[in-house]
């Protein structure tokens, strides 16, 4: 388990963050650039020294301002994957990979050389020099190098940010394998909603150096106050679902979640498999009576929980469908026209084609969200 509780002030920037991350799985540090995400993992690695606070990993205190503890970088065993890979240019790929491994002797032997090479598919690169590798290959080698240093935790600083879409798609499956096969806590810095939804179990959201939310992905990413981080048009509800049915004739799948069922474009996952779906608030419409003769196939009975007038024409409406809160973004004019009030029974309408659902092999986080 990783426990972080740190504060730091620099000219023009201050950071305050406190969270815990479970002993395995991915915890995303999510926010826009300049939010302080990288500073947090630098503090965990020992590269940046916080002004105050504590950092504890697996019961070992890395940093404690009160106790005067500040373990040097090289003794923290924090595997760090940098955005720019940072492979040693004067060494072959193999020597890069072995650099940390050689220095980890004495540490409990975890993953071996061959296993890492196989996991990341870099066997054919071993004799090459870093400057001859593509961006995606460099990043895979950098991940392997960090893994072979037998780290207690893995820190990944936007490992995909410098890559184009094709390279990202090439690496994401490796990151998923890493997450699922290594029993290692991973702190993953990202500003990409898609990466966070696809890879992480938990999220710490940051804005301007201040932590604004911490919790499970579904919980944090569904909060309407995440709007400044996610953006008005991408804000929505994230639902951790299971596959209830497949409809082969129409290439559709039905997902079950605590508030009901959702018909979505076909997801490649077995029956009962875990799927994460995202419904944008702007894709949820509200009707007073059960709609008939409409193309929209997801019609969910709901209760208006709260209505928050937003800026300009918008209003945020929180709906309860069973146990699940569903965010809807409508106009203030619609709220008035329909006479919406809290407590009112309505119907939520969600177009099937508007639902993003992915991560066929996504592992349901073992940690209960609070």
């Amino acid at each position: 388990m990783i426990e972080v509780d740190i504060q730091l002030a620099r000219p023009g920037f201050s950071l305050a963050s406190a969270f815990t991350a479970p002993g395995a799985g991915v915890t995303a540090l999510f926010g826009r650039s300049g939010a302080g995400k990288t500073t947090i993992i630098q503090a965990v690695a020992g590269v940046v020294r916080p002004d105050r606070g504590r950092i504890v990993v697996d019961g070992e205190t890395y940093f404690d301002s009160a106790g005067g503890i500040d373990v040097p970088i090289e003794r923290r065993r924090a595997g760090y994957v940098f955005q720019d890979a940072r492979l040693f240019p004067h060494m072959s790929v193999e020597r890069n990979l072995r650099y940390g491994q050689r220095r980890a002797r004495g540490a409990d032997a975890g993953i071996g050389f061959d296993a890492v090479v196989e996991l990341l598919g870099i066997g054919h690169l071993l004799g090459r020099r870093p400057h001859t590798l593509s961006g995606g290959e460099k990043q895979r080698v950098a991940i392997g190098r960090a893994l072979l240093s037998q780290p207690r935790l893995l820190l990944m600083d936007e490992p995909l940010a410098a890559l184009d879409a094709a390279r990202k798609a090439e690496i994401l499956p490796y990151l998923e394998r890493l997450r699922d096969e290594m029993k290692l806590p991973i702190l993953y810095v990202s500003h990409s909603l898609e990466e966070v939804l696809r890879l992480s179990d938990r999220v710490v959201a940051l804005k301007d150096g201040q932590q604004i939310a911490e919790g499970s992905v579904a919980e944090v990413m569904s909060r309407t106050d995440m709007q400044p981080v996610i953006g008005r048009f991408d804000i929505g509800t994230v639902l951790d679902c299971t596959v209830a049915r497949h409809d082969a004739a129409y290439d559709l799948s039905t997902l079950a979640f605590p508030g009901g069922e959702l018909r979505v474009p076909r997801v490649e996952a077995p029956l009962g498999g875990a799927v994460r779906a995202r419904v944008r608030a702007r894709d949820v419409a509200i009707a007073l009576a059960q709609p008939v003769d409409v193309s929209v196939s997801n019609l969910l009975p709901a209760v208006v929980e709260a209505i928050t007038p937003g800026e300009g024409p918008y209003a945020d409406v929180a709906l309860l469908t069973g146990a699940t809160r569903l965010a809807a973004s409508v106009t203030r004019e619609s709220v008035t026209r329909l006479g919406l009030v809290p407590g009112q029974a309505v119907w939520a309408m969600i177009k099937t084609v508007a639902v993003d659902s992915r991560s066929p092999d996504f592992a349901v986080p073992g940690e209960p969200s609070s």
Partner: protein, 229 residues
């Protein structure tokens, strides 16, 4: 081709240039590290002092060496008394003069190389479990190698050409301090010295050119080796 006297001057020049570079290199490396990587009160003054021999008249440097390291100099008298080391009129003295003059050039070349080393790579190495010394030996130093080598060749080249400080400090003694430039200077004062001056001039040009070509070649090889091609 060359007279024995000229051969002596050539051999002496090479010897002085080599040893001057050999002894000053570790100090130049340390000085470059301090200048590139540390900050302390009075650093700009230290910086200035390091580069002073570059801008001072060489005769002034020679004179300063004379009053500090000469037989009756502030330090020189103790060197003679305690260690029986005499620098005046000796090859050792000529080596010291050459080392002092070429020092700033060497420091500068190494400093530039050090500043060009991506500190992110050093951080990466430390996260992989390497101590500061380990990082210096396995990452920083190898990446600085082209700079160190070019600094060394620059030092040799400038030591080969040293004149003012040498003649002021250790005088012009054949077989001891008379390097190629001093021998050419002497030749121009002899009635029949034109041929000797001409021959030594050719030798000077050949040596300088060789040093430059060598520097170029070594630089390219090392860059390929460390993957900066």
């Amino acid at each position: 081709m060359l007279t024995p006297e000229e051969w002596t001057a050539v051999q002496l020049s090479l010897k002085v240039a080599f040893w001057a570079t050999f002894w000053s290199l570790p100090f130049a490396l340390a000085t470059a590290m301090v200048l590139a990587r540390t900050s302390f009160p009075g650093k700009s003054l230290f910086d200035g002092i390091v580069y002073l021999p570059l801008v001072l008249p060489k005769v002034v440097v020679g004179y300063l060496l004379l009053i500090t390291l000469g037989a009756r100099g502030y330090l020189g008298q103790y060197l003679a008394e305690w260690f029986n080391i005499r620098l005046i009129f000796t090859t050792a003295g000529a080596t010291v003069a050459a080392a002092v003059i070429s020092f700033p050039l060497t420091v500068n070349a190494i400093r530039l190389a050090l500043e060009a080393v991506d500190r992110g790579l050093e951080t990466a190495a430390r996260t992989l479990g390497a101590s500061r010394l380990d990082v210096f030996l396995t990452v920083t130093l190898p990446l600085m190698l082209p700079g160190i080598l070019s600094g060394a060749l620059l030092s040799i080249a400038s030591a080969l050409g040293e004149f003012g400080a040498t003649i002021t400090f250790v005088s012009n003694v054949e077989g001891q301090t008379r390097t190629i430039p001093l021998a050419i200077y002497s030749a121009t004062h002899m009635t029949d010295g034109d041929a000797m001056a001409a021959r030594l001039t050719v030798v000077s040009i050949v040596l300088a050119l060789a040093a430059l070509l060598l520097a170029n070649l070594a630089d390219r090889r090392i860059r390929t080796l460390i993957g900066r091609a």
